[in-house]
């Protein structure tokens, strides 16, 4: 159902963006004499900004790491906010919570809730550590990600994470997400 919804969005997009594109193609003349604003961006322009990592693994940089290597980095750079084992806080709990999502007190963590392992790489590099985002090397990010996945029982302590192995990891809650069914509440 979810994929059907995404595909439907895709179809609508092809139709509507097709208009953008075809008017573009038909009016090459106009485009050449369009607003004439902006300039082509170069790879150099984009190299520090194009940091997103997709579920396919697209965007992952070279590098590698294991949970064993990640333990020390986590202890130094992450534990003060997330606790020594990723469960104590004070900030977001990262470890545990398996099987709690349908309970009265759900515990949403990387292990119990996050649908993609690639998101973890993207987010840790992009926004962590909180006082110094984008400061970790790719080896450090792979290592911390490995430690977090190991703590959640998803990979072994010596699993090497890299551009190939990370996107292949299937997260426990991979199938836990559904599309928006609203309006969903019957009228009063």
């Amino acid at each position: 159902m979810y994929m059907r919804n995404v595909m439907m969005m895709g179809l609508i997009t092809v139709l509507s963006v097709g208009i953008l594109w075809s008017s573009e193609a038909a009016d090459q003349q106009d485009r050449m004499y369009g607003y004439g604003l902006g300039r082509p961006a170069t790879d150099l322009d984009l190299q520090h900004w194009n940091i997103d990592v997709a579920p396919t693994g697209e965007g992952l940089p070279p590098g590698r790491g294991t949970a064993r290597q990640g333990a020390a980095i986590y202890a130094t750079k992450c534990a003060s906010c997330h606790g020594p084992t990723g469960q104590e806080g004070p900030m977001d709990r990262l470890v545990g919570g398996a099987g709690t999502l349908g309970s009265q007190k759900p515990v949403k963590t990387i292990g119990s809730y996050w649908p993609y392992a690639t998101t973890l790489y993207d987010y840790v590099y992009r926004a962590m550590p909180f006082p110094a985002p984008q400061s970790l090397s790719s080896d450090e990010v792979y290592s911390v990600v490995a430690w977090l996945l190991y703590q959640n029982g998803i990979i072994a302590e010596d699993t090497i994470l890299d551009v190939h192995s990370l996107p292949a990891i299937r997260m426990p809650n991979h199938n836990g997400f559904v599309p928006d069914p609203r309006p969903d509440v019957p009228k009063n």
Binding site: V6, T13, Y35, G102, R126, P133, Q134, V185
Partner: protein, 424 residues
């Protein structure tokens, strides 16, 4: 219903410090009267210190020259309404003090994920890449040269009222509903810029990224946003406030605030969602069966009585019940008010302007007889959607979904006039 705090301050006896301020004001007023012959330097320094102090009203303002013109206006020092900061992550708009539908820029709620960045507009760029004819970069000057467009729109954080799922928690409407605001937004239509760049036919999702320390990112379905998306550089007639994304933000009218990426630096076109942290582990709505709804972008219709509201104290007699209603699907068609906890409803007056995806002001003249009552408002939007009761909403969604709480709000007026938040 006047803020009692303000009144108390005004009635306080003047102490020595106040006398000093009065003296300062008098000196400043004198200078203002002879501004033509006073050197600019003296003028500036006096103005500065006068602004730093609290200006105190003279006994008769018709007998004392007023203040000099100022470079950037300030509100009266008698007005105290402020945002309430919430930890490090944001602040709440004081809806209880609002008039009309616009939120002053300085009072627009804040939500940021690692602080408000300082950005030099000269160096800021919007980069558009991925499935486009050619990667393209725009300066702020480029973007301002495109044909401009303006519209009024509310922005509401989808976490607004999240504290109300389980129990009545917020003591004031600022705490329960303060993560929504309305501004006039000006910029260039995204569609216009994309025509300049050329989007490939297979592009269906956009990754929008901010230039803050969270490098905030959301994936957005192109087909659903293309008609209304705006690249905004101005708010209420002046450049965006830093906390609203200066120098550039995305506006997606009617969508949850988080999708309106602030400090916008990059739009990347792809064929699938990028599955960022903010659209997987956050901003997804957990249902009681353990599944979570994803890409719930739209903000459904919601209304709230802003006065009388929690924390206020009212007197028996005439009360103009006032509030705000809004819908991410379009215009508000009707607002009803109940003064008996939802048993009966009266139609409220909607004040112009009534605009799509915008706060709409409603009011209902009423006489309170001094007995315990529960006030509620519910709205209907132009698509026929009716704001749900709390019971109906919770029956479908449970109490753990965090986001998109839009149930009817109940305010109890006790016999002593004290107004408080209740679930009814």
């Amino acid at each position: 219903m006047k803020n009692s705090l303000q009144k108390e301050k005004r009635d306080e006896p003047r102490d020595e410090a106040d006398t000093e301020k009065t003296a300062l004001l008098d000196r400043r007023s004198l200078l203002a009267g002879t501004a033509g012959i006073v050197s600019a330097i003296v003028m500036r320094s006096v103005t500065r210190s006068a602004e730093a102090a609290m200006l105190v009203a003279p006994d008769d303002p018709t007998r004392v020259p007023g203040a000099a013109p100022t470079a950037y206006g300030q509100r009266s020092t008698y007005e105290q309404s402020v945002r309430v900061p919430r930890s490090w992550w944001g602040s709440l708009t004081p809806l209880q003090d609002s008039h009309g539908i616009l939120t002053p820029s300085a009072l627009h709620f804040e939500r940021h994920h690692n602080g408000v960045p300082v950005i030099d507009p000269e160096h800021h760029r919007l980069m558009i890449h991925g499935l486009v004819a050619q990667p393209w970069a725009f300066t702020m000057d480029d973007l301002k040269r495109f044909p401009a467009t303006s519209r009024l729109a509310f922005i509401e954080c989808s976490g607004n009222s999240a504290i109300e799922w389980k129990a009545p928690t917020g003591q004031s409407v600022q705490q329960t509903h303060g993560l929504t605001s309305t501004s006039e937004w000006t910029g260039v239509a995204l569609k216009t810029v994309l025509q300049e760049v050329g989007v490939k036919p297979d592009a269906s999702w956009i990754l929008a990224e901010g230039s803050d320390a969270a490098a905030m990112t959301r994936s957005l379905p192109l087909a659903l946003l293309i008609e209304e998306a705006l690249l905004c550089y101005a708010q209420n007639g002046e450049p965006l406030r830093p906390e609203q994304g200066y120098p550039l933000r995305l506006l997606l009218p009617g969508w949850e605030g988080n999708t309106c990426i602030k400090w916008l630096r990059r739009l990347k076109f792809g064929t699938a969602p990028f599955m960022t942290r903010e659209e997987t582990s956050q901003y997804t709505d957990l249902m009681s069966d353990g599944t979570a709804r994803q890409f719930t972008m739209l903000m459904e219709a919601k209304s709230v009585i802003t006065s009388p509201s929690g924390g206020q104290r009212v007197q028996p007699g005439f009360i103009d019940i006032r509030g705000l209603a809004w819908s991410g699907r379009g215009r508000i068609a009707q607002v009803e008010v109940s003064t008996d906890g939802g048993r009966s409803w009266q139609q409220a007056v909607l004040q112009d302007p009534i605009l799509p995806k915008c706060h709409t002001r409603f009011c209902l003249p009423w006489r309170w007889n001094g007995a315990d009552v529960i006030l509620q408002s519910r709205c209907l939007d132009e698509t026929g959607y009716v704001q749900p009761t709390r019971a109906a909403l919770v029956a479908v969604r449970g109490v753990n979904s965090v986001y998109h709480y839009n149930a009817i709000q109940s305010w109890k007026i006790a016999a002593d006039g004290q107004v408080s938040n209740v679930h009814a």
